[in-house]
């Protein structure tokens, strides 16, 4: 058991995710068990509404877990304080930011909050981390721009920089390429892959870019109605996981190309 926790930064066991309101419980997905290796770039894929975002929000404790256990670094997530968790997991969500007059630099600096004192003074280390995050995401030219002046792709990079500045072992991104064009999408995937290998952080994303995820990610987790597949591309191919993703005939997995292709009938 100990070796599982050593190798895997995140261990999810028999988890049920969903929403709890007063006495009504709406279960989105259950029986989720998976391990995520330290320092890997992981994509969670699956159909719309299967529970990708709900799962990510539960792992980051934005939503309460309904059942099962989530263990991060060998410690149950419920034993983490808010601040401790904020030092372990950083988030990039799909929701729109409220309108404000924040600049790129100010927004990235907010990532340092779990590390700063009560009045939020930035120490030398804080400033170093912020500058490093700006450099890694290539935002030097935009640093003094206001966030409402940015394009979707630029804003996504700023949000990734904020998560980097938070300096956590795990970064979770919910559909980081949702509103982006093909070029920007590939750039974000490559940035995330580069960051994983350079910083040894664990980056977990949810995505609909299956073909791109197959090409760039170290590990894939496929959520489907009956079963959850998780592993490297080759293990998933042995398990016929990709064939089970879409039931329709419109999109099919081509084993030789290792890509999904559109059926031309």
């Amino acid at each position: 058991m100990n070796s599982t926790f050593k190798k895997n930064i995140l261990v999810i066991d028999n988890l049920t995710v969903g929403y709890q309101e007063k006495n009504k419980i709406k279960i989105i997905a259950n029986n989720i068990s998976l391990n995520i290796k330290r320092g890997s770039f992981v994509a969670i894929i699956g159909k719309n509404g299967i529970g990708k975002s709900t799962l990510l929000k539960t792992i980051s404790k934005v939503l309460k877990q309904l059942n099962g256990s989530i263990t991060i670094n060998g410690k149950n997530i419920n034993e983490y304080s808010y601040r401790e968790l904020a030092k372990t997991i950083s988030l990039v969500l799909t929701e729109r930011l409220p309108e404000s007059q924040l600049t790129v630099l100010e927004l990235i600096a907010l990532g340092r909050q779990p590390h700063t004192n009560w009045i939020d003074t930035l120490s030398k280390i804080d400033i170093e981390k912020i500058e490093w995050a700006i450099k890694e995401t290539n935002l030097e030219k935009l640093r003094d721009n206001r966030i409402d002046e940015l394009s979707d792709g630029q804003l996504q990079r700023v949000l990734i920089a904020r998560a980097l500045a938070q300096d956590t072992e795990i970064i979770i991104l919910d559909e980081p390429t949702a509103h982006l064009d093909m070029h920007q999408t590939i750039k974000i995937f490559e940035l995330l892959k580069k960051l994983t290998h350079k910083t040894e952080k664990t980056i977990i994303i949810s995505s609909h870019e299956i073909n791109l995820a197959i090409k760039t990610c170290d590990q894939l987790t496929i959520l489907s109605k009956n079963k959850i597949y998780s592993g490297t591309i080759s293990t998933l191919m042995v398990e016929n996981a990709f064939e089970n993703l879409f039931s329709s005939e419109i999109v099919k997995f081509n084993r030789t190309l290792q890509q999904f292709v559109i059926n031309k009938n």
Binding site: K57, S60, K61, V62, S81, Y82, R83, E84, L85, A86, K87, I89, S90, L91, L93, E95, L97, P98, E99, S100, Q101, L102, L105, E106, L107, L110, G111, Q113, P114, T116, W118, I119, D120, D144, Q166
Partner: protein, 345 residues
């Protein structure tokens, strides 16, 4: 973090502080009795002055009034800023929680109720303290209800609606009370609702300013949380903020400040909504480390100016402060908005 913006922020703060001091002394020097400026300086420095009565006028009437204006203006502005950030709504102000409506209800029951319920209230003359106690009780009753609903409700917007509902409810109760009251009582209540910065004794100022200090200090301790709220509640949570606790702290500070201000000076409109917007437009930032002191300074300055106007220099009359704040303030905000074209939370 750019140097040039840092300098301009520093300069703006120096300018605002100078304006505050200027209008503070201008406020003291204006009134129905004209007192030469040198004599005012002499009174503060303890030198001899030409007329002994001036001593009393300045130290026991005008100085407490100017201090009240300062506390009320800055306190309401800070509340407004907190509410706008918490609800991420530019229309939010200190009165949205219905706390001041609660205070009004307390006072209405005290003044109007005495004619409706007759002998229940023994004395006819209503002292300042009983007004303060009645409005504090009303404010805290509503505060209590708001905090309870904040604990039950997960959605921040629902709290806003509930606050507005409390406002409507109390307004309705006041209408009913007024319907059954005599003209004299209605007039007395109306005068209270006009707002007044004067008539506070030094003891009252001491009580007022101690509670004010607690509220202001409290708001400075949550600057970090307020900044994290700029990203929305989910991001704030992911930055380690305890949302529920922070929400209650913000509500407590606002209610405490609004409650005590309304108790001592009546429901003063406009400042709490406008001053934070003026600060946001002037400083071009959403950072609460800057906005909090800036709103406080601007609110205090506006109220001091409004009070100068309300005194109608060299005249015996004093206009209701509540009318002046909106009469002169609203066009300024409209003008600023049209110029800047955009408003931020």
């Amino acid at each position: 973090m750019k140097k040039s913006t840092n300098i301009s922020i520093k300069n703006s703060f120096i300018l605002l502080s100078v304006l505050l001091i200027v209008f503070f002394f201008l406020n003291i020097s204006l009134g129905s009795v004209s007192i030469p400026f040198e004599d005012i300086i002499n009174i503060f420095t303890g030198k001899s002055i030409s007329k002994e009565s001036w001593h009393t006028i300045i130290l026991d009437f005008r100085l407490p009034k100017a201090i009240t204006a300062l506390l009320v203006g800055s306190g309401l502005s800070v509340c407004g800023l907190l509410m706008q950030t918490l609800f991420r709504n530019p229309l939010a102000g200190p009165f949205v929680l219905g706390v001041s409506s609660g205070a009004s209800l307390g006072v209405a029951i005290l003044i109007l109720g005495s004619s409706v319920f007759g002998s229940f209230f023994v004395t006819n003359s209503i002292s300042n303290w009983s007004l303060v106690i009645a409005s504090s009780l009303g404010a805290f009753l509503v505060l209590f209800a708001v905090i309870i609903s904040a604990n039950i409700l997960r959605n921040t917007m629902s709290i806003l609606i509930i606050g507005l509902m409390f406002g409507s409810l109390t307004a309705a109760v006041i209408s009913v009370l007024a319907y059954f009251s005599e003209a004299q009582q209605i007039q007395q209540y109306l005068f209270w609702s006009f707002g007044s910065l004067g008539n506070l004794t030094w003891t009252e100022i001491n009580v007022f300013s101690s509670i004010y200090c607690i509220g202001i200090f409290g708001s400075f301790t949550i600057v970090k949380t307020l900044n994290s709220f700029l990203l929305g509640e989910n991001y704030a949570k992911s930055l380690g903020v305890n949302i529920k606790r922070s929400r209650i702290i913000i509500l407590l500070i606002t209610s405490l400040l609004t409650g005590v201000i309304t108790a001592f000076s009546g429901p003063i409109a406009f400042i709490g909504l406008a001053a934070p917007h003026i600060a946001k437009i002037l400083f071009n930032t959403s950072n609460h480390k800057i906005l909090l002191p800036a709103s406080a300074l601007i609110g205090a300055i506006i109220l001091l100016i409004c009070d100068c106007i309300a005194q109608l220099p060299t005249s015996e009359f004093t206009l209701p402060i509540n009318a002046i704040t909106s009469l002169f303030g609203a066009p300024i905000v409209i003008w600023l908005l049209i110029r800047k074209k955009k408003i931020f939370v």
